[in-house]
């Protein structure tokens, strides 16, 4: 029941707003209630128990064996928590919307509802459908309320992500058809059982994995399918960028962790080299591109593309440690990038520009923003104390261990070395941006800027507290997600 509540509350709130409820208040209450319900689920979740909890199911079509099944395990629980937190922050961060205010908030809540549904669904059909539901409002948010070249950006992200979804759909259909006819089902648990019985042949696994990798990869901006991301995030209104970069984009990673790893272990092994090369493209190549950016929003967009590389690295690691690290990093990155985009939006609202060379010295006039941005920037470059660091450490340790021998380095170790250099790269661009935005002498034109409003301390505080909590006490995160991943690796 609680899952139904979490999934449908944002949708209900969105509909209420559309028929005329006061937009901001309804949205905030909706988001806050969802967050409270998610926290309730978090604390009610029984860590010791294996498998899915809070499972509810109702049949939709018996011919196609489609059921509307919701349920949580540790991994999806953490994704839900991420969604709830970021949604709440994004709604709070929404400033004054001059036109179609109610539609704006409704779009935000629809995205949240779609993300909740996708993460809670145990049925492939709804898993896919909910994500598609969340994509449409993203398009509207960028196209209507965006800035800069917003329509081009909106079309680009739509066509790009639709292509990705299409490839993904193809993969899912092939996955459905790969098991013997009698065992065909959309139910994740049944598929997992079928896979563990070896019902999915190895050559089929390879093809399906590739499709899933490319499909999910496009959704997560895997190199070289990443060029939609910076442009879209630069054009999107801040709350939309927060929700998409923080939550919705993570759907692809979640999908890989949820479907590709347990169902297609042999496929994953076949394509591991390709994935390693592509993700190093994310880390090194996109990292270098990020250094060359001249605008804060583009820089943040590229940096979020780059950090996806580390999560992919965890997925590619093929070890329990690395996979756990990937889960931690998904959460950590979601929180930190949401905060960065939110703050960048606040700055743009005041200055009207995000060109790095035009800004400077804002730390003096906006000390609260300087502190918050500094914390978020340090979180995103993986400073200890923040969850990002924990995730990166686990990922790097996990990958490095794969097949390690004191005699020579294999491809996993080489990838680790390069990925570690990426940590230096990310420090370079982040500190450079921080220096040119907040440090140095204040320009004449910015001396009259107002600081962040006091009320923004709430969402900023929640986001930072989340990151710090799991950074200081990662074990509380690992205890939740590791049973899920342990079942993946029991065979090895």
């Amino acid at each position: 029941m609680i899952l139904h509540f979490i999934v449908f509350l944002p949708v209900a709130a969105a509909l209420a707003i559309l028929v005329g409820a006061p937009a901001r208040r309804t949205a905030l209450w909706g988001a806050a209630l969802t967050l409270a319900a998610t926290l309730l689920a978090y604390f009610a979740f029984d860590t010791g128990q294996r498998g899915f909890q809070f499972v509810t199911s109702c049949a939709v079509s018996s011919d196609w064996r489609i059921n509307f099944t919701l349920g949580l395990d540790g991994l999806s629980l953490m994704m839900m928590l991420l969604t709830a937190v970021v949604t709440f922050a994004a709604v709070w961060f929404t400033g004054e919307i001059t036109e179609h205010e109610n539609a704006f908030y409704a779009c935000l809540l629809f995205i949240a509802g779609g993300a909740f549904g996708a993460f809670a669904s145990l049925d492939l059909f709804f898993f896919y459908a909910f994500h598609e539901l969340a994509l449409i409002p993203t398009f509207l948010l960028i196209g209507i309320w965006g800035s800069g070249n917003r329509q081009a950006a909106a079309w680009k992200i739509t066509i790009y992500l639709a292509t990705g979804s299409f490839i993904l759909l193809l993969g899912l259909i092939m996955l459905y058809r790969s098991v013997p006819e009698a065992a065909r089902t959309f139910d994740l648990r049944a598929l997992q059982k079928a896979a563990s019985l070896g019902m999915i042949p190895a050559d089929a696994q390879g093809n399906i994995y590739l499709l899933l990798l490319v499909g999910f990869g496009i959704l997560v901006s895997l190199f070289p399918f990443h060029t939609w991301a910076p442009e879209a995030y630069a054009s999107a209104p801040a709350p939309a960028a927060m929700l998409h970069a923080g939550v919705l984009k993570k759907f692809g990673l979640y999908g890989l962790l949820r479907l590709a790893l347990p169902l297609l272990p042999e496929g994953a092994e076949q394509w591991s080299t390709l994935l390693l090369v592509l993700l190093l493209g994310n880390i090194i190549y996109v990292g270098l591109v990020t250094i060359a950016q001249k605008r804060l929003d583009w820089m943040l967009g590229y940096s979020s593309v780059m950090h996806m590389g580390y999560i992919f690295l965890g997925i590619a690691s093929g070890t329990l440690l690395g996979t756990n690290g990937a889960a931690v990093l998904i959460f950590a990155h979601g929180v930190s990038i949401a905060l960065l985009f939110g703050l960048a939006g606040e700055i743009r609202q005041r200055t009207g520009t995000l060109v790095l060379a035009d800004l400077g010295g804002l730390g003096k006039v906006m000390p609260r923003a300087g502190l918050a941005f500094g914390l978020a920037a340090f979180a995103s470059i993986g400073l200890p104390g923040f969850a990002n660091f924990t995730g990166e450490v686990m990922v790097l340790f996990g990958v490095f261990r794969n097949g390690a021998s004191p005699e020579r380095f294999n491809i996993y170790q080489i990838a680790t070395v390069l990925a570690l250099w990426g940590v230096v790269i990310s420090a370079v661009y982040m500190l450079r941006a921080y220096r040119s935005v907040f440090m140095g002498a204040v320009r004449e034109s910015w001396s009259g800027l107002t600081d962040l409003s006091r009320s923004l301390r709430v969402p900023i505080g929640i986001l930072i507290a989340m990151s710090l909590w799991f950074g200081f006490f990662p074990q509380s995160f690992i205890r939740k997600v590791s049973p899920t991943f342990k079942s993946y690796f029991t065979a090895k």
Partner: protein, 598 residues
């Protein structure tokens, strides 16, 4: 005996920082009071821990995925870390108090004290860590607090740049450090120092692997302790407030690298190749920094280069396989270098932030106590008996004499240079005629700043005596070399003193002029060029590829091709209803023909 006391040492400054940031930011007096109280509390707890035998602390879990990875949050409490605790909290407490005077009217005083407390937390974390990952955590945190404190006056471009440079240089070192940790971990299966020491046999059979791993771990120390070739950040770090330079960039943080090397001595001493590389890096740093120091004109930069040079000595000692000697020098150096920096700070603040030594002069009379304490520090630094530096430096020299003559002679040369540049500093700053208005008007600093100087002068003088140092450190069993090594060292020192006095007495400007040395061997320029040539070019190249080839070329190209086909097909749409129906009819006829008559 298990106790929570070490946790208090660690967490008191942390909570002070948190409280200041969250609650008392607006009240500057209260913030500084909280910070000072926290460090004093830490100091008292440290003393309690120091005097307690066999103390053990509560251990928490950070990551537990046994059997793959287990990272505890646990403390190591042996003689080494206990000494460091007392040292760090003791000097830290003095510098907190000194800062009350130095930062009295600073607008960012709350931020300053929050960062200072945060620094104490991270530094104590390094000292206490019982495993590599935890040490790395605090290692990075120390880097951040250093970033915050160097960039305290962030409106000044130089400070902002220096902070960034310090952080990034350290990150490069940490890149190697992390890699070294990874290699050591995969080989031994643990990150906890004690367990690694036990499992060391698993790597020693692969000497190449061991050497690489050790040198990579050493990279971390190269960054943090500002050894050649990553030394460039430390002189720039002097843009921070002077108490910071004393605490972080002289006495404690930069010594963390040396401490870490001593802590993992079991690993380093297993590889002879690594040891000699370390010894040589230390030597090169010592000589190079001392050379550069002879031609600097900024009082803080001179001290910064002397710090580099002394850190070089310590690393040299580590490379000569004597952690004890390195720690001994670290111990004495912490006192006299903190003293020197604080002395320099009180000069600077009384001269209205004038740092050029050629604008000073004749200060001995007006700043009497500062002068006396500064002299004590100088004598200790140049190793003049019986000041503390004499004993610790002598130990390292004796070690080098025994193991590696080439290093010994270079170290001796460094001792000569040290005496030279420090006496040059003394002569120019304290004697002769005042060379500026501020120097003429300078007077003694307030008591909050002078008292720490006087307190520090005592250990700067006395901490070198064997009977004092033995209370804190295990001193290496010294073989008798007779008087040769100390004699040579004293001769080098005296030569340096004489030369400096002869050259610089009653001078208005520097009689020597070596552009190469004065411009710091052009390291900054070379690095700047290298970064621009590699990272800069690569970055703009990738950005170009991303924008024009990937995005515009391929992605928009695909879109454009589709659009082109579409516009070709569009020509079929003539818009005439009857034309369409004609084609429609034609189609039907064709369909009927094909279905019925074929």
């Amino acid at each position: 005996m298990s106790s929570a006391l070490p946790w208090y040492i660690l967490l008191l400054p942390f909570f002070a920082a948190v409280v200041i940031v969250l609650l008392t930011k607006s009240s500057r007096g209260l913030s500084s009071f909280i910070s000072v109280a926290a460090v004093l509390g830490s100091f008292i707890c440290s003393c309690l821990v120091f005097t307690t035998e066999n103390i053990r602390s509560i251990e928490l879990t950070w990551i537990d995925l046994r059997p793959i990875l287990y990272v505890p949050l646990g403390f190591v409490l042996d003689d080494l870390s206990k000494t460091m605790l007392v040292l760090v909290t003791g000097i830290g407490a003095l510098i907190h108090i000194y800062s009350l005077g130095y930062m009295k009217d600073d607008a960012g005083k709350s931020r300053y004290f929050a960062s200072l407390s945060f620094f104490m937390f991270s530094m104590l974390g390094i000292v206490l860590s019982n495993n590599f990952v935890m040490m790395f955590i605090f290692w990075e945190l120390v880097g951040v607090s250093s970033y915050l404190l160097i960039g305290h006056w962030f409106e000044r471009d130089a400070a902002a740049e220096a902070a960034k440079k310090a952080f990034l240089t350290n990150r490069i070192g940490d890149f190697g450090f992390m890699l070294g940790i990874l290699m050591a971990w995969t080989a031994t299966g643990s990150v906890v120092f004690d367990d690694m020491a036990q499992e060391l046999g698993r790597i020693t059979s692969y000497p190449g692997y061991l050497t690489v791993a050790t040198l990579l771990i050493f990279c971390g120390a190269v960054g943090k302790s500002a050894q050649f070739p990553l030394h460039v950040w430390l002189p720039d770090a002097m843009e921070g407030p002077t108490p910071i330079s004393a605490l972080i960039h002289a006495a404690t943080m930069v010594a963390a690298g040396v401490y870490m090397l001593v802590r993992v001595g079991f690993l380093i001493q297993a590889s002879a190749t690594a040891l000699s590389v370390i010894a040589w890096i230390g030597t090169v740093t010592a000589v190079m920094a001392a050379l550069i120091a002879t031609q600097q004109n900024d009082i803080k930069r001179i001290l910064a280069y002397s710090t580099l040079s002394q850190l070089g000595y310590m690393v040299m000692a580590v490379g000569l396989a004597s952690g004890e000697a390195a720690m001994f020098h670290l111990f004495t150096h912490a006192f006299f270098k903190a003293l020197l920096f604080l002395g320099a700070g009180s000069i600077i603040v009384m001269l209205h932030h004038e740092q050029n030594i050629w604008k000073m002069g004749g200060l001995a009379g007006r700043l009497g106590i500062t002068f006396l304490t500064f002299m004590a520090g100088t004598l200790a630094l140049i190793g003049f008996p019986p000041f503390s530096g004499f004993f610790s430096k002598d130990l390292i020299l004796a070690l080098a004499y025994e193991k590696n003559p080439a290093i010994f002679w270079l170290a001796l040369f460094t001792a000569f240079l040290t005496a030279f540049y420090m006496v040059r500093l003394i002569v120019v700053v304290f004697f002769g005629k005042p060379r500026s208005e501020h120097a003429r008007a300078g007077r003694e600093a307030p008591w909050v700043m002078i008292t720490p100087l006087m307190i520090l002068a005592i250990p700067a003088f006395a901490s070198g005596f064997g009977f004092v140092a033995k209370l804190f450190l295990p001193l290496p069993a010294q073989e008798e070399h007779g008087w040769l090594v100390p004699g040579l060292a004293l001769a080098a020192t005296l030569a340096g003193i004489t030369l400096a006095v002869v050259l610089y007495r009653r001078r208005e400007s520097d009689p020597l002029d070596f552009a190469l040395v004065r411009d710091r061997f052009y390291f900054d320029e070379i690095y700047g060029f290298l970064i621009k040539a590699t990272q800069g070019v690569l970055a703009s190249l990738s950005a170009f590829i991303d924008r024009w080839i990937l995005d515009v070329g391929i992605i928009r190209g695909a879109g454009g091709t589709t659009w082109g086909f579409g516009s070709l097909l569009r020509l079929l749409q003539v818009g005439n209803l009857q034309a369409y129906s004609f084609l429609f009819g034609l189609g039907i006829v064709g369909l009927i023909y094909f279905t019925l008559f074929r």
